[in-house]
Amino acid sequence: MTDVSTEPPVRHGLRIIVCIKQVPKAQELSVDPVTKTLKRVGVPSEINPPDQNALEMAFQLREKHGGEVLVLSMGPTAFDESLERAIAMGADRAYLVTDRALGGSDTVPTALTLSEAIHKIGAYDLILCGEETTDSSTGHVGPGIAGHLDLPQITYCSRVEVHGTMVRGTRMVEDGDEVWEGPMPAVLTVNFGCNKPRQPNLTGKIRVKRGGLVTHWSASDLGLDPAHIGLRGSPTIVAKVDTVQLPQRKGRIFQEEPAVAVSLLLEALRKDGVIPW
């Protein structure tokens, strides 16, 4: 039994960087009727669920090929909660790019910032992201990072395999499964629900408590140009937000016993021309 703190870090196997985002827990979202904005205060947070699948994918690859799993995020210091959770799940270390100047970033400066952070981390074999976030659902950041770093990309993967220096991602596309193969280093985005994310374990929680595993970087630590980050660096803005008007529906609800209710329903649907007979 050896003790991790006395061993020097060894670079073998794959170095995988997983980009994660902390998001409000989906079911807890509600819109403030007065300000018409999302009520974010006091809402519990979680690691964006597709990112959890990406993390699990990374852990499985590490189990198979050896190496390390690093976690990267961009956001306020509150995101430490998710980074610590990722470490408690099994990640080796975490990095958070946090800076007021990054506030209001759309996907262009976000992809740029994360790319610069990845540069700073140094050598890597794979960059994994969840396919999209539950709060913004653009799916742009993974491919955006690939564009910035000029790397091969494979999106919407339900499976990821490493064969020597090549990576294969099985993409779930509309008409089937397409397996792409490309050389590492590469960027892959991982499908929501493609695996079962593991829970934090005792060893992981101990490592978090020991501390020193989360590094914070500011915009200047990465040498980012203020004109290209945050609100200033975002080509898009949210001009306004409307509450959705659902179409008014007639709403005839039948509460009779099944035989009667069904015949009433079918009669109505026939009148509407929905049923062919």
Binding site: P143, G147, E181, G251, P258, L269, W277
Partner: protein, 361 residues
């Protein structure tokens, strides 16, 4: 570089509305066609030209088809290396053409490949991209108003890209109406060449396994969807829905929980994290009606709900509903529909002699 475009005084301002035409195995994707209709509407509002961009191999006929659907011209880029979508070469094609022709607006269908492409492209040329839009408008200033669902479908966000060009957006699948096809329509086909070298072909398609399940493709285009929720209790009960779907010539769908529980494949999932559908009839069975599910089906022409809980949220958006035990209602529904169908097949015959009845043999 396109950033700071508007500041350069010598060049004319960017103009033109482009639609990315995605060719998939010899045909134009539905969403590309839907976008031509919407693109036409925006171009007309802006009094601009609507162009299609079509990378591919041996797809000239699709370019003509696009013109018949409403584009004024098509930038056709043919190369055997473009036969099937791959990220880098397609991004290079789009980036090259955008830099050369400087469109004001570029629209993509939010298919998997459309989003893959848009994501890489927008970072490469540094411009704004609004994802998964369900509506477009043109503001008084002439910007594109890109409207997309936010906050789990409870709200609609209006996204603007004021300074960067082109303004780019991806459009959600099956939300926009397919335009009429006019075979008499004419337009230009502009053949463009983009040099694709080996480093551009960093990935290759190793294997393609076509989906076996018919429903996987059907749900996107089905006119009738019979969707099941957690109330079904176990995967076997989806068999009932398949029977019902068969009777009505529809497809089976699902809310999120049965997919998460592994009862049905994700391809059947309707909702915010699944598919958006707009069938003529959507029957929600044992589905409570969480906002995330509604986001995927609330624009169905007719919604029918079957649920044991009279207070279930689904009843609020239903045109018709039955409050009752689905294990009684659904078999009854199947029974009565069969009777109706048999009656229609052989009217005037006594029940026993009708096709499908046991006595008829």
């Amino acid at each position: 570089m396109v950033t700071g475009e508007a500041a350069a005084p010598a060049k004319p301002p960017p103009s033109g509305v482009w639609v990315f035409l995605e060719a998939r195995r010899g045909a134009l994707r539905d969403v590309s066609i839907q976008l031509i209709g919407e693109g036409r509407r925006i171009a007309d509002k802006k009094k601009a030209i609507l162009s299609g961009v079509l990378p591919g191999w041996e797809v000239e006929h699709l370019a003509r088809e696009a013109v018949e659907y409403g584009v004024d011209d098509v930038f056709l880029v043919e190369d055997p290396r473009l036969e099937t979508y791959l990220s880098r070469p397609y991004t290079k094609v789009l980036a090259t053409l955008i830099r050369k022709y400087r469109p004001e607006i570029v629209l993509f269908g939010a298919s998997k490949n459309g989003r893959d492409l848009g994501g890489r492209l927008h970072a490469t040329i540094e411009t704004g991209l609004a994802a998964d839009c369900v509506r477009f408008d043109v503001t008084a200033e002439g910007y594109l108003d890109m409207i997309r669902p936010a906050f789990g479908g409870k709200s609609l966000a209006h996204i603007h890209c004021e300074k960067h060009r082109p303004q780019m957006a991806s459009a959600r699948v099956n939300v926009f109406q397919r335009p009429a096809r006019d075979p008499t329509r004419t337009g230009r086909i502009v053949r463009e060449k983009v040099d694709l070298v080996d480093p551009d072909m960093d990935t290759r398609i190793f294997e393609f396994i076509e989906s076996q399940r018919r429903e996987t493709r059907k749900i996107d285009e089905a006119k009738v969807i019979i969707a099941g929720g957690f109330g079904l209790g176990n995967p076997k009960n989806f068999g009932m829905l398949e029977e019902l779907a068969e009777l009505l010539g529809g497809a089976v769908g699902s809310s999120r929980k049965p997919v998460d529980s592994g009862w049905v494949p994700k391809a059947l999932q309707v909702g915010q994290t699944g598919k958006t559908v707009r069938p003529d009839v959507y029957v929600a069975i044992g589905i409570s009606g969480a906002v995330q599910h509604l986001a995927g089906m609330q624009e169905s022409a007719k919604i029918v709900a079957i649920n044991i809980d009279p207070k279930a949220a689904i009843f609020e958006v239903a045109d018709y509903g039955i409050v009752g035990d689905l294990f009684e209602v659904v078999p009854e529904l199947i029974r009565q529909l069969r009777a109706l169908r048999d009656q229609a097949a052989a009217p005037g015959l006594p029940a026993a002699a009708r096709p499908g009845s046991p006595a008829a043999g």
